[in-house]
């Protein structure tokens, strides 16, 4: 029944077209169908197609269930689209096809057959799989690098730990003998010798602090995280109270704003507040009226906690050095410190897979920000639980 013109038009299409009647007999097909699957299945009943034409379900490569073929579904009145893997004995090569089928209806909307379009998507599938393969490869490489980095980190941390640990004993001896010298022999020492003795003691005090903080930094890295839903405000409050003696006699105003809950290790996050708030106390030392603010804010669409002070601040040029071990932006005579505190803060936040950064301006204060998981929730959302 096909007119020559219609057949010419159909044959010029790149996509295959098949029209079947209710019995599954082929009414119309075009040359593209023959190209795709070797020959038009004119002599086959629909339920023979999967076996005879080599139609497979694309994921598990099982023979395509005949009743699930798009034509069969269209004959039941359903429009559908699916992908089929074809490996027909006639062409002896595999291709992927995308099949779209619609029911064919008469004037009274009765289904009288089905129209099916068949498109070769082999190239697209191959590209997709290539992308997936590259992606997987990249991911496994990232995983491997991360594991290597973590191992190196661990090794460095245990090295740091054992060095700091072993330094404690000789340091203890120097401290002890210096003190015995001071207490039992001071009157016999020349003033200059007494001076040197004092310098030795200052040096050992500083070294003691360094060793303790290094040990702590290494310990932070080695300890497993104990994640819990934690209310941050009481922690910050406790830290503020504990640090109060360190600024006795000064005018220091601590404004604790609304914080929230976070999924974190309470002990470690307490340390973060300890370092940041004691830093703020230290670097506002020259202010008549020191103001330290602790609160929650949104930066770049992300909720974070901040600790802000009106202290001496720092030059943003050096912001990159702020969190490095032993890096200091101030002379020790001006502000005493070991340069390990902020490195510890960073290590703790990194362990929580959060981010920490700082903003400052010379003589106009500094603000430290950090993110933790779970900050996004409304404060108090968990309290009702």
């Amino acid at each position: 029944m096909q007119t020559k013109l219609l057949q010419t038009v159909l044959d010029s299409l790149g996509d295959g077209l098949i029209v079947v009647d209710m019995a599954g007999r082929l009414l119309i097909w075009n040359a593209a169908v023959e190209n795709l699957i070797g020959a038009a299945p004119t002599a086959l009943a629909l339920n023979q197609w999967p076996e005879a034409l080599g139609l497979y379900e694309p994921v598990e490569c099982k023979t395509y269930p005949a009743e699930q073929l798009p034509m069969a579904r269209a004959l039941r009145g359903e429009s559908c689209e699916c992908e089929i893997l074809v490996r027909t004995p006639l062409t002896a090569k595999s291709i992927w096809i995308e099949v779209t089928a619609h029911p064919l209806k008469d004037q009274n909307a009765n289904v009288v057959g089905a129209v099916t379009a068949v498109r070769n998507i082999t190239q697209r599938k191959i590209s997709e799989q290539e992308i997936q393969r590259l992606h997987d490869e990249l991911e496994s490489r990232v995983r491997q690098r991360t594991a290597e980095l973590e191992a190196a980190n661990k090794e460095l941390e245990s090295f740091t730990y054992s060095v700091a640990h072993d330094l404690r004993a000789p340091l203890r001896h120097i401290v002890g003998f210096a003190q015995i010298l001071e207490e039992d022999f001071r009157p016999k020492l020349e003033p200059e010798a007494q001076q040197y003795l004092t310098r030795i003691q200052q040096g050992t005090r500083r070294m003691g602090l360094l060793v303790d903080e290094l040990l702590n930094l290494a310990k932070v890295g080695r300890q497993p995280l104990n994640l819990q839903l934690v209310n941050l405000a009481p922690i910050a409050e406790r830290v503020i109270a504990e640090l109060a003696p360190s600024h006795e006699g000064r005018e220091v105003e601590c404004k604790l704003g609304e914080l929230s809950w976070a999924n974190c290790d309470a002990n470690l996050v307490k340390q973060v507040f300890q370092h940041l708030i004691s830093n703020a106390i230290k670097y506002t030392r020259l202010r008549q009226h020191a103001v330290i603010e602790i609160g929650k804010t949104e930066v770049g669409g992300q909720m974070c906690i901040f600790v802000r002070d009106n202290g001496v601040g720092f030059n943003m040029k050096y912001v990159g050095k702020l969190f490095g071990v032993f890096q200091r932006l101030h002379r020790n005579e001006d502000f005493e410190g070991t340069g390990i505190g902020l490195a510890t803060v960073q290590r703790i936040i990194q362990k929580h897979r959060g981010r920490v950064w700082a903003e400052g301006e010379m003589d106009r204060g500094a603000t430290f920000y950090f993110t933790l998981k779970g900050l996004e929730q409304e404060p108090g959302a968990q309290e009702s639980k």
């Binding site: 005090r205 003691g208 602090l209 303790d212 702590n216 104990n226 819990q228 309470a266 002990n267 340390q271 300890q274």
Partner: protein, 150 residues
């Protein structure tokens, strides 16, 4: 300088005399030694507390146990024996705090693994001094194994 990261200790007092218990607790807290002093008044509660059973499921595992010997329901030796036989509790130091001076009582405590035996003095002045000394030694100087925070 004391290690700033040393978290204050937790202690469990086990004593069936409420007045002694109260006094000891107040003295320990007043001297700012431990962070928290929990108290139970019989041996079965002591074991349940340590194992976080029954009404003690949210109890903090203590760093130190101060244990009287003459206790209702389960006596101090039994508690001591259970603590020292439990791999999870064994490393927690136990100080026996009892009025008994009987060599046999003291000897049995050490044999069962008590870490220390302190005689509970009769008069208040001595009682206070002894508690003070327990606090000083254990909370200002001794180290405890890390307890799992919860």
């Amino acid at each position: 300088m004391k290690n700033q990261n040393m978290s204050p200790a937790e202690v469990l007092l086990v004593d069936d005399n409420p007045a002694d218990l109260d006094l000891a607790r107040d003295l320990l807290i007043a001297n700012e030694h431990p962070r928290q002093v929990s108290a139970v008044t019989d041996g079965e509660d002591a074991v349940a507390f340590l194992r976080r059973e029954g009404r003690f499921t949210s109890a903090q595992r203590p760093d130190l146990i101060i244990l009287d010997l003459n206790l209702p329901r389960k006596n101090g030796w039994q508690v001591l024996e259970e603590v020292k036989a439990d791999p999870k509790l064994r490393s927690t130091p136990v100080v026996i705090f009892s009025t008994s001076e009987a060599p046999r009582d003291i000897g049995n405590c050490y044999r069962l693994g008590a870490n220390s035996y302190v005689r509970k003095p009769g008069n208040l002045q001595d009682f206070m001094a002894v508690i003070q000394s327990i606090g000083q030694f254990w909370f200002q100087n001794a180290c405890f194994p890390r307890r799992e925070e919860q």
